[in-house]
Symmetry: C2
Subunit: 477 residues, 2 copies
Amino acid sequence: MNFIPFGTKRSLRAGLLAALTLFAPIVSFAAEEASSAAAGGHHGVGQTFFWIAIILTVAGIAKMIERKGQPAVLGEILVGVVLGNLALLGIHWFEPMKTDAALKFLAELGVGILLFQIGLESTVGKMRKVGKTAFIVAIAGVVVPFALGYFGSLWLIEGISSYAAIFIGATLTATSVGITARVLKDLGKLQTKESQVILGAAVIDDVLGLIILAVVSALVTTGSVSAGAVSWIIVKAVLFLGGALWAGQLAAPHLSRTFSTIHTGHAMKLITAVVFFLVFAFLAEVVGLAPIVGAFAGGLVLESVHFKGFKDPDLVTDAEEFHETLEKNLDPDLHSTVHETYNSFSEKLTHARDRHVEELVETLGFIFTPIFFVMTGMSVDLATLGNLPILGIALMLTAVAFVGKLVCGLVAEKGMDRWIVGFGMAPRGEVGLIFANIGLALGVVTTSLFSAVVIVVMLTTLMTPPILAMLLRRQRA
Amino acid sequence: MNFIPFGTKRSLRAGLLAALTLFAPIVSFAAEEASSAAAGGHHGVGQTFFWIAIILTVAGIAKMIERKGQPAVLGEILVGVVLGNLALLGIHWFEPMKTDAALKFLAELGVGILLFQIGLESTVGKMRKVGKTAFIVAIAGVVVPFALGYFGSLWLIEGISSYAAIFIGATLTATSVGITARVLKDLGKLQTKESQVILGAAVIDDVLGLIILAVVSALVTTGSVSAGAVSWIIVKAVLFLGGALWAGQLAAPHLSRTFSTIHTGHAMKLITAVVFFLVFAFLAEVVGLAPIVGAFAGGLVLESVHFKGFKDPDLVTDAEEFHETLEKNLDPDLHSTVHETYNSFSEKLTHARDRHVEELVETLGFIFTPIFFVMTGMSVDLATLGNLPILGIALMLTAVAFVGKLVCGLVAEKGMDRWIVGFGMAPRGEVGLIFANIGLALGVVTTSLFSAVVIVVMLTTLMTPPILAMLLRRQRA
């Protein structure tokens, strides 16, 4: 976060205006091309390139929100909401973005990279330390919202079926870790105990979510639940999480060494890390978990020490040259502090030139992570807020959703900021929508109830970043 | 390029074996999942993640080819050929990769990033210097292969129609710059005059290719050519290349300044560059040129000086801290050389910490560029080589293809290595295939003739990297 001097504000506005003047004709031209291309059934890569350029431009502008002390992710979601709802003002240019398959894929890649990055900043050992607390928080974060959602909707919504109430309860159990993780990262708070608990609990919640989904679906479709099927889901998920973490930790040093034997450059270092990320995300999806859970696990497994075999060859030359200059120019009787300064500085240079794997992965995140959050914002349909009865139900369910997760924060151990843990678990995101969608497909959840759930997801997504930012700032003060 | 000591060879083999042992069950499992998922109509992002992991793994292993002095790109294409033809050995695991839409998109993104990178390493001014030579080379590189292809196929292929001969001629005019550009980059030869001529000529060739395609298609479908339509194509392409380069040069400093006013970090720097790349690639596609031509133009427009507004904020603190240590610890009567060494070292640190835009873009290329070249290799169908009559025609056409482009090297000015220019223009790649495909769609080119053209494209693609590497090494010696 860096603040610009006030004097530059005018030049900033002028620049934005100039950029807009330049961009507007391109956008209108592009929009025409897009619609005519769509009519002709032709869709080149250039079109998606252009959509990415639009996303990156608005995400770039959205970084201005950091000056108000807000995390960049809030800005990205908000510009996404604007872009996705311009159709309400009669501007339909950006509508095709919502269904662009390549964009959707890049968004998934982007949130995967984010969780992998976050995994890289922690270790399996660190997660194990908060394991017990995370487990309790996760269980409470499923049981309480489910109970509140089930009984609350039976009480609040007239004529709701008990199956529909079960689905509402299930929807409210979901935890969408992407948004919270990004807020914690934006504000540099990933290393706190609260953050580790939230991340651990979110992973466990994903496993619990799988089980709930299976149980609820079976209950609604067949009226009974097969213990065998549910056990198999649990076994697969636990095998993956346990097995992948164990095997990954064993294999990581060997694979890294093998790759670094082939080539020691930065490209190979990044490729090694990305292969880990991709394989873990894939395996998670195979066992039914979210790919981002796998991405996070892949990051946990990899540790900096695995990458010590990779060295920039130029760097070695540089360090040698420096050593020579040092020997030539320093008097032997010189104050030893100077020597020390030299040494620490030399180390700094080495450190700076030899780019860490985190730094390489971060560079990928610069481009792909904003795509996910802008697209998340675009999926928010403000028109749903216009239906007052639905909005009323949605607001009540939103309150239930927040209360349910805040209660789960209370079970966090003493000394932690329970509000942060509670609000950190609050965003429902796409995981909640998946539940609601299945309910809709099974004919249990009505369309208007579905719309209400969409609003709940929207509100928990939009409200969490500013609330968390405020809580984290208070904690720092 | 760094060579490993011989002693590590055994451990390398053991490591590869271990990696393979670990990977094989995952691959076979994944393949089963993929086919069952395809049967169910379900296809998650995880599947594509896994394909990317496969590509990056083989691309990583392919880097071993650098020890033989060959460019990495040759290794990537070759492992692609192996992966794409395992079906001949009864292993059908990787067949779905060939039609994965997300992979295709990422491949296009990868080659776009490559050409953008290459554009960044040059400037509009530098290209203008070689403009005349590049123009002559491009014209000769179109006229000679067309004439040779037309008359050659009339003479070589029994019963060929004159329209088909025209299409063969047109196919041989195409220049696919991606492969040559990558070889030049792999071997660190982008800054030579020959390289600049090849890149300039390839861009001009793309414009000429557009015109030829329009003329030939019109001739075959309507029997006549409308001067107006052809003029409009030329006007659009020239307007884009001239206009975008001109407007881009004017706008680049302003847009960079605006973006750096919002935020000065590395993320914003990379976003600014990538937006330029994407918009240029998009505009190129809109006027009918290849997106990579636009990507290259976008790179030409951007210059390091446009990014001086971006600074890592941490860096400033570091430099200040360093200055303080210096003042505190150095005796005033110390030898001045030590001061100088300090200063130059401080500059090096600044340089190292403040990552250049080229370095940030390169990091993206580490992951996405290999996808393009492995996929290029995968599109090579070795089965076509089994048909001897077709192979015969193909070999003759390949000879014609090489001779045609080598002749165009001869018109390069004195003092240049004409062989390098000639072979640099030789790969036909996907551009040639587009011509042949249209001929096939129009019913002018027969299926067997089309297969022959595919082999020509294959051979020019596979033979160019080792030949160019040899020529470039000879030049260096």
